[in-house]
């Protein structure tokens, strides 16, 4: 069940955009939910000791958050059958202000035969793209 009619879609069409605030609280939640307890995601002293500017978000958190724009659009997250990203830049999460990540999805490919649509995501933090080749395929 979906409200989307594949025949009405156009290449390059924007399907949605959303700002996500990622805070230190978000990182602790994601660590617990995913089991990734690498201290670079919650300890400034540790992050600095390995040469980072500070605590950064789990790449997998950014990836998991970004695809929500696709899930919101399609309505049923179970229709997302393929999703890949390249981690190109870190998202540093300030202890007070967190980090704002802006996600925008556009139609990248339409396959009417298989009823599949590829959504290309732009994921931006501090005016810099942090995920490369972020693409999700939805089977409508």
């Amino acid at each position: 069940m979906t409200h989307i009619n594949i025949a009405g879609l156009e290449l390059g069409q924007e399907i949605g955009t959303k700002e996500f605030l990622i805070t230190r609280d978000s990182l602790v939640r994601y660590a617990g939910a995913s089991g990734d307890f690498n201290p670079i995601h919650y300890r400034d002293d540790f992050a600095k000791s390995v040469g980072l500017d500070g605590v950064l978000a789990h790449g997998m958190l950014t990836m998991g958050v970004a695809v929500q724009v696709v899930a919101d659009w399609v309505g049923d997250a179970g229709k997302i059958i393929d999703y890949g990203v390249r981690f190109t830049k870190p998202v540093f999460v300030d202890a007070n202000d967190g980090a704002v990540v802006v996600v925008t999805g556009k139609v990248g490919n339409i396959n009417a035969e298989t009823n599949e649509v590829r959504i290309d995501l732009s994921v931006v933090f501090n005016e810099t793209s942090v995920l490369g080749k972020a693409q999700a395929v939805v089977r409508l």
Partner: protein, 147 residues
């Protein structure tokens, strides 16, 4: 830095992982999902699923269990403190749902060296209790070389 001979090596199946409803909700909140099929059993069932649907990237939890077996393999010789996640992909045959009992097997798809660094690509296949393929998780880790 990573032993190139582990290319092609397959690791045995992990112990079964039982996907719980509350674990799905916890993960869904963590990735800021508001998608009804991730959170509301009635919405998931109305959409045709037997139970809550796991978020798209939930399979990472299963992948981690397989990766742990490689990272502790002395033959592979991967220094986890030098690992950076390069890229990640999930291909789902069907969504993971609450109640699934999943095992995974991992194959080292490739080991490449890039100057002092190594790039290792892992393919984790995730199977349900009937041994049907549910998802494949493909992960490339960059292992930084020593100075």
């Amino acid at each position: 830095v990573v032993n190139p001979n582990v290319e092609g090596k397959k690791y045995p199946a992990t112990e079964p992982y039982l996907v719980g409803r509350e674990k799905i909700r916890e993960f869904a909140h963590a990735v800021k999902s508001t998608n009804p099929v991730n959170l509301d059993v009635f919405a998931a069932q109305a959409a045709g699923y037997v139970d809550l649907v796991a978020p798209t990237t939930f399979a990472v939890v299963i992948q981690e269990r397989s990766l742990a077996t490689v990272l502790s393999d002395p033959e592979a010789d991967i220094d986890f403190s030098r690992v950076v996640h390069g890229d990640q992909r999930f291909v789902h045959v069907r969504p993971i749902v609450a109640g699934d009992e999943l095992t995974s097997t991992l194959k080292v798809a490739s080991v490449k060296s890039l100057g002092a660094h190594s790039m290792v690509t892992f393919e984790t296949e995730i199977f349900d209790v009937n041994n049907e393929l549910v998802s494949t998780a493909i992960s490339t880790l960059v292992v930084r070389g020593g100075e």
